[in-house]
Amino acid sequence: MIKAVQVNKSFRVGEQEMMVLKGLDFSVNKGEFVAIMGPSGSGKSTLLQLLGGLDVPTAGEIQIDSTAINRLNEKERTIFRRRNIGFVFQNYQLLPTMTVEENVAFPLRANGEMLHTSREKANQYLEAVGLAKMGQRFPNVLSGGQQQRVAVARALVNEPKLLLADEPTGNLDRKMAEEILELLSHFHEHNRQTIVMVTHDIFAAGYADRIVLFKDGVIETEVNREDEDYARFVAHFMA
């Protein structure tokens, strides 16, 4: 589903070029839930931005479901993103002057969908995240956890091929974080949603199928859950 090949990304900081990603190879299979961890400055957020088409690599290729998004221009990337990718941010990033329902419907309306179909779908997903009655409220009266659930609904409303989450539990306490992670997990298990999540919290990363550790712009290690050994582990734990 995702295939990033030899990706370089450098930024100009003042007079210098800072190389954030170096010759990165990264791939994700359809239906996989991958967590990316690493210290700040390691390039994990940058990778997520590149995957979401918010930025282009300095070199290398990024394919999402066989579309080379690095070759698209700004406008094409935006259109591709709103049709195929869902984003969840650390700060929820909800629009304060719109109701919860309008927030969730935004990607659809931006894509030109009619008002009433967008509304229907939005409410569908609001229900799926457990906020069925909150449609007409404004984000500022919701708790952090609720806001993030709205964000998740918005990310999924366009039935994206890929869900990208950037520190989705960063602003939440333990309990709310767990709610969100279980929500993501739910969609992953039942809808086979492909998810790539950046986090610095191992607790959140634990919900993934695979954890990728970043350091200095390259992948340091990867740890798979290896479900073949799962039963044995549980037995050992119980003993």
């Binding site: 931005q49 406008k75 993103r81 984003f87 990033q93 002057t97 918005r154």
Partner: protein, 826 residues
């Protein structure tokens, strides 16, 4: 103390763009105000100066109701020991002989023989030659057109030849045409020794008038009374010299009103921009202020902090604004005086206006910052530190529209101040208007701009007050454009109607000597002439306002029996007391004279007529185009008796048709050319007025484009602030679906909405204002309801164009930001 200023400087320059915009706003407000004040001051002084030039510093003059009189007849005055410095003048019409130029109208000259060419009372600006030598003195316009220099000889037909001994600069007493086109309508004026002219015209010892100064310590009123008494019953009379040029320069008050209005509007808009900037700055720093307060700063400390920042901005603004204002004032003054004939020289009076503008330049930003200052000082400590936004209390919410409605009610007052109330009231009620119109426009936006348009409409709610205020500024500017456009449009029409109704015929002929009955008969027989009608004018009659101010205007005779075309005035309503007007002791005042006088119908007004100081009862007010209404009328049957003015120097001619006019002129010149002072046609009078209006019209439009530009700076500023505050949101919008193009559309939608609402409300306001003024007393009969289509079109186009243009920068800023940086923005 100095480091407080340093801190303030740093705070102020923290945000470059905001600093510059605020500075520009202050500078523009100050410079426009300064410019307007300078123009007002300079114009006033210039006219006054030229008035004084005209009177030359004399205290009295002695005139006659005859063309000339023997100087001996007033010997007792000339020899009075209080009389110093007397100047005798003889005026005579003649014709100059020029090569290549013929035709009586073009070569008509008024020769003024004066007792001494270098007399103190003449105030001549010598350009070339020598005034102490006896010879011909030419004004530079005449010298140029006649192509004569000092030393050349000039021949006057049937009079004599004389050497040019001096050329002088412009002075009213020698006012001459500046080009041959003007020479068709106006005679040349030249000066020469009295004795020479008396000799040429066989009028030994005769003069037209005497001007003199009296001993400065003398009691002028006492002297006036004495002289009046001495001349009582004779053909001569004495007048005090009064500086009053209102009869020549009407509309000045209206002009000054416009200048003040423009300055106020400019200040308003600049003040609003400053308010927005300081408000945003204060809001951003709420956390800082609460920290300062938790560390010990009191509210007053914080007021002082903000105040210093504002003062710093003001000082810089003044530094830029005043020189700019002086330059602008000079430019505008030059253009303004170009409207008037002749173009007067002027000295720019910039000192006092600059000082006043400096004071304003400090006060208005401070005033505009009062509310933000208050908010800053009263930042609640804990709330701000935790970034909790406070919500406005219910009380302040309602205050706005309550005051707004109250102010609108001020319209009923009917005084010009109520216009100010109207504007302020509109601004206060604006948010509600804005919301209403926004709802109406929403479907349109959805259709044309799609979803981005819908979002734009929703976004307006967010900073409703700020957006409404900005839009209000534009609306006020547009209302002003329309209003002034209509007035400038309807005024000429009104004038033209007035002139044609009250001119008194088709031609007006002014002779230097009285029209004898035979001459009148003869003229009536000219081909093309339908009828003639003489009337009398006692010129330069001094009178007193209710406040004791000395003025002068002409006193004109009217004949209730005269035919239709010869009516010199009209009345607004059918006055039943018309019969009373012909009562002895009654006088009618033109509208303007009446307003200046300050009294009421039935009161008495004191005039120094040629008969002497007399009180008359003001029996009525009339509309007339003569001297723009700064004039008085009296029944002709009373003229000799009450005014001691037996002769008619003016003749009105009604022609059979307009194409006969040139023929009539020719005949007049042919037969009476040597005594004609001027021939004026009604069309010329209209054309002359029209020229003035055209000039003013252009100036107005220029000024008002300026106002709209200032408004659009306001719009750009508001949108920029709106955008910058929303950078994080814009990042979200772009991350979750909007392309750059869609974001731009959204912001353009917001900007154009502010513009549209502004145009809509402004147009309604302007049209309403026009209607209101047209039916009210304020502008007299000159303003009637017309829709200034050109101005409306200009306002709509300019409004749309400028609001789109003003949206462009914020839109570019919005899309330039990197999406991921925007998302992290706090």
């Amino acid at each position: 103390m100095r480091d407080l200023w340093l801190i303030s400087w740093r705070n102020v320059t923290r945000n470059r763009k905001r600093f510059l915009l605020t500075l520009i706003a202050i500078a523009l407000g100050v410079s426009l105000t300064c410019g307007m004040l300078i123009v007002k001051e300079t114009t006033e002084r210039t006219f006054e100066f030229h008035e004084r030039l005209y009177t030359g510093g004399a205290d009295f003059w002695v005139l006659s109701h005859e063309h000339t009189f023997p100087a001996d007849d007033i010997a007792m005055i000339m020899e009075d020991n209080q009389v110093q410095n007397s100047l005798s003048v003889l005026d005579k019409q003649g014709f100059v002989e020029l090569e290549g130029v013929t035709g009586p109208a073009l070569t008509s000259v008024r020769l003024s023989g004066v007792s001494r060419l270098d007399h103190e009372l003449l105030v001549l600006e010598l350009l070339e030659g020598d005034l102490s030598r006896d010879g011909l003195v030419l004004p530079e316009d005449a010298a140029r057109l006649w192509n004569k220099r000092v030393g050349d000889t000039v021949v006057f037909r049937d009079m004599g030849s004389i050497e040019v001994t001096a050329i002088v600069g412009y002075t009213p007493i020698l006012r001459s045409p500046s080009d041959w086109e003007e020479a068709e309508r106006r005679h040349f004026r030249v000066m020469l020794p009295l004795a020479t002219l008396q000799d040429w015209t066989n009028r030994e010892e005769q003069i037209s008038y005497l001007r003199f100064q009296v001993n400065p310590q003398a009691d002028k009123n006492e002297l006036l009374a004495r002289y009046e008494q001495q001349l009582a019953g004779s053909a001569q009379y004495v007048q005090p010299v009064v500086i009053d040029d209102r009869q020549n320069n009407s509309g000045m008050d209206g002009l000054y009103f416009t200048l003040y209005t423009v300055a106020i509007v400019a200040l308003f808009i600049s003040g609003f921009i400053v308010f927005n900037m300081i408000f945003a700055s204060v809001m951003e720093r709420r956390k800082e202020f609460s920290i300062m307060k938790s560390l010990g700063y009191t509210n007053i400390h914080i007021y002082r902090l903000v105040l210093m920042e504002v003062l710093l901005l003001s000082l810089l603004g003044i530094l830029i604004g005043i020189p700019l204002g002086v330059w602008f004032g000079d430019l505008f003054q030059y253009m303004l005086l170009g409207i008037f004939e002749p173009r007067l020289d002027y000295i720019l009076h910039w000192q006092a206006p600059s000082l006043i503008s400096m004071a304003i330049g400090v006060l208005f930003p401070v005033a505009a910052s009062c509310i933000p200052m208050y908010i800053a000082g009263n930042t609640p400590i804990l709330q701000a530190m935790r970034n909790i936004a406070g919500s406005p209390t219910k009380k302040t919410k309602h205050l706005r529209w309550i005051i707004g409605l109250l102010l609108l009610g001020g319209l009923l007052i009917g005084h010009s101040i109520s216009l100010l109330f109207l504007f302020v009231g509109t601004v206060l009620l604006y948010p509600y208007l804005f919301t209403m119109i926004k709802k109406l426009l929403a479907p349109l936006y959805r259709q044309t701009l799609g979803y981005p348009g819908e979002v734009a409409v929703q976004n307006m709610e967010r900073n409703l007050n700020r957006n409404a205020n900005t839009s209000a500024m534009l609306a006020c500017g547009i209302a002003l454009v329309l209003f002034l456009g209509a007035s400038v449009q309807s005024l000429p029409e009104g004038y033209e109607q007035e002139i044609s109704a009250t001119f008194g015929g088709d031609l007006r002929v002014h002779s230097e000597s009285p029209w004898e009955p035979e001459a009148i008969e003869r003229i009536a027989q000219f081909s093309g002439v339908a009828a003639v009608h003489p009337y009398r004018v006692a010129p330069e009659v001094a009178w007193q306002t209710k406040d004791g101010d000395m003025r002068r205007f002409p006193l004109i005779s009217f004949d209730p029996e005269a035919g239709e075309p010869f009516q010199l005035f009209s009345v607004r309503t059918e006055d039943s007391s018309a019969a009373a007007w012909s009562q002895p002791g009654s006088i009618l005042l033109g509208e303007w004279a009446y307003l200046e006088w300050g009294g009421r119908i039935g009161d008495s007004i004191h005039l120094h007529t040629p008969k002497g100081l007399t009180a008359f009862e003001v029996a009525g007010i009339v509309q007339t185009s003569h001297h723009d209404g700064y004039v008085a009328f009296m029944d002709v049957s009373l003229f000799t008796e009450q005014v001691n003015w037996p002769h008619a120097y003016h003749l009105l001619i009604d022609s059979e048709s307009n194409d006969q006019l040139p023929g009539i002129r020719d005949q007049l010149w042919q037969h009476y050319g040597d005594r004609l002072s001027s021939i004026t046609s009604m069309q010329e009078a209209v054309a002359s007025a029209q020229r003035g209006f055209d000039g003013i019209n252009e100036l107005m439009q220029g000024l008002l484009i300026l106002v709209i530009c200032l408004s659009s700076i306001g719009i750009g500023n508001t949108l920029l602030m709106n955008t910058i505050e929303r950078i994080s949101e814009i990042g979200t919008i772009r991350a979750t679906g909007f392309t750059k193009g869609q974001v731009k559309l959204m912001i353009l939608g917001e900007g154009s909405m502010i513009g549209m609402v502004g145009i809509a409300v402004g147009s309604l306001l302007g049209l309403g204002l026009i209607y209101y003024i047209s039916i009210s007393e304020m502008a007299g009969s000159y303003m009637f309801f017309t829709i200034p289509w050109a101005n409306l079109g200009l306002a709509v186009c300019a409004g749309i164009a400028l609001s789109l243009f003003a949206s462009w920068l914020p839109a570019s800023v919005a899309v330039k930001v990197n999406v991921h940086e925007a998302l992290k923005y706090e």
